[in-house]
Assembly symmetry: C2
Homo-oligomer: 387 residues x 2
Amino acid sequence: VDGRSVEARQRASPSTSRPSAERLRLTYLLTCQAGEDPHAKARDIAHEQTVELPAACLSPEIAERIPGEVTALEASTESRWRAVLSYDVVTVGEDLPQLLNLLFGNISLKRGILLTEIEWPPSLLAYLQGPRFGIEGLRALCGRPEGRPLLCTAAKPLGLSATELAHRCSQFALAGLDIIKDDHGLANQATAPFAERVARCQEAVATANARTGGNSLYFPNLTAPAPELAERAELARAAGCRGALLSPLLVGLDSMRWVAATSGLAILAHPSLAGAFFHETHGIAPELLLGDLFRVAGSDGVIYPNVGGRFPFPESACIAINSRLRQRLGNVRPAFPVPGGGIDVAQLPYWIDRYGPDTMFLIGGSLYAQADLVQAAARFREAVERG
Amino acid sequence: VDGRSVEARQRASPSTSRPSAERLRLTYLLTCQAGEDPHAKARDIAHEQTVELPAACLSPEIAERIPGEVTALEASTESRWRAVLSYDVVTVGEDLPQLLNLLFGNISLKRGILLTEIEWPPSLLAYLQGPRFGIEGLRALCGRPEGRPLLCTAAKPLGLSATELAHRCSQFALAGLDIIKDDHGLANQATAPFAERVARCQEAVATANARTGGNSLYFPNLTAPAPELAERAELARAAGCRGALLSPLLVGLDSMRWVAATSGLAILAHPSLAGAFFHETHGIAPELLLGDLFRVAGSDGVIYPNVGGRFPFPESACIAINSRLRQRLGNVRPAFPVPGGGIDVAQLPYWIDRYGPDTMFLIGGSLYAQADLVQAAARFREAVERG
């Protein structure tokens, strides 16, 4: 971690207590009930998320500085309003859990509040850092600099032994897929304990690479109880893995940031639990949670459920996630969009055309449905190579 | 942590790979769209949450053991069905993030699925352990064994200096409140950095106790970036604090379990972000998330938004949370329900009568609205002592 003493760090992390010129600007779409005043609703958010007291209980200095300012409020549709709230960055400090709290903590318990946009202050981006590899770095790890989409699949199902999972990894590697990740439900179950699984799967992929001259990578699932996260990351590194899968909402978004910042592993983020936030009038917009937030918290690639697969996810959200992950955002590297959740190989040409080359396609079930896994995976690779 | 080597622990944590007699039973309320088959929806959950493959892709052994079994399915109302799914405990292992994943991970991204009940296998409860203090232990810490409700308030607002917050803590302690917690948005901001705040607030409360002969406790907010959580817990312990506030959904539920298991601090859990899960037809029922899950993950008290306060929370949910936190659950200690979020002192007699003595009342804003904080807090204490 960081070599300074606890107290030095606790003292040092906030840089100043003077009002900052930098502001954190948040846009919410407010849905008002009959008789609900959008101005009052916006002001209520500004107070609820910071001081948790009415203005009458605050000193003028705090009332001026802390609750945030409603800088814009405009009608979106008849009962919906777009509100922009601007906060002094001192309310967050260098603290991702506190950022989540400010964005949606208490107001999650209210109604009709959808976070749709974050305007990131440079100081917060500099602290969070984002992906350590990003699109370019992940391409380099895979030895695929040439600009075609990357190919990803999952070793599964839960219930197989480590040896059986390793055999599947080997088949995918023989077919030349770029990244073979654990299914996100593979944790440390007795059927294929983490240490044994990582050793066998990594070895199987290395052996297959040696045979083909290829460069497939195995990404184990690091999602783990809090005290074991760092150990599992070390174990994966020691086994030779270059990246890992993590479900940030299962372990805490900041735990992912920390693993990304310290492990040296590339991070593929899984959206497990994310759907809790995806309601039409209340929550966090999918492109903001899976696009912006997962990216700034260190994801080199973000898995999301593609439209038309097993999950009822709109195409507009997919397009918006792709765009958020790739767009310019200060010095934060772009990350790979990883559509999955039921893409069929037969549909790949359409999706490649639609999503472009800087995409990682995750195909699992549609390979397993075929008799010969090596051939199925090879057809996946060929479909992408044809473009 | 645990003195065994990483590999020994990774090997040891799952106890066996043979099918277990113990089952984890989950009840979901399914809301079906026109034409949607509730049987198919229940089976889909069983597969989506485990193997993520259709039955045709599974070996008979895995198909039999892993996807879980739909053991009951009955109509609840016209479009709603109650489904009970039963899983081999091997699918979870000793792993709270993987439990969350099994409960609601991928299906969060679907629609019309509400988790309403968990039947806990004894082995999982034995691993999770629950509160270290519980109702009895927290009463003992506060020196209030006699069976009246406990009194809790919050030092706020964000923006005050550590000295100013400590002054408020002192006033509450002079009035004899049992627990004075940080407001949950106080993290490590420059306005009142954690280390300085803890030192000053704890000292202020100790000084007030020495004057009154009382036993007020100061609980700092531990919610922090992942690598600083253990350090802040140590710092709080070293300062003499006996408990702390934590927002488990901001840091990850398992991080709270870990702090509860290792820090020696009593844990008051805050529901920040929890509302994302509280939708009528999709999510996790409030009494299950704040009652069962927060309790088994180590909360000695759980804060929730009381009906009629600032949050639109139904009374039925409050009653159900109270009941879940207190009811018999294997060897897991009961935890204090902590209704808050806008309770007025004037209404306390009603709520004491309604919720009973094993309740901790959290009153903040209604004290701050009064001119003299010591007198306001004393009226709060007297209202509870009168019962």
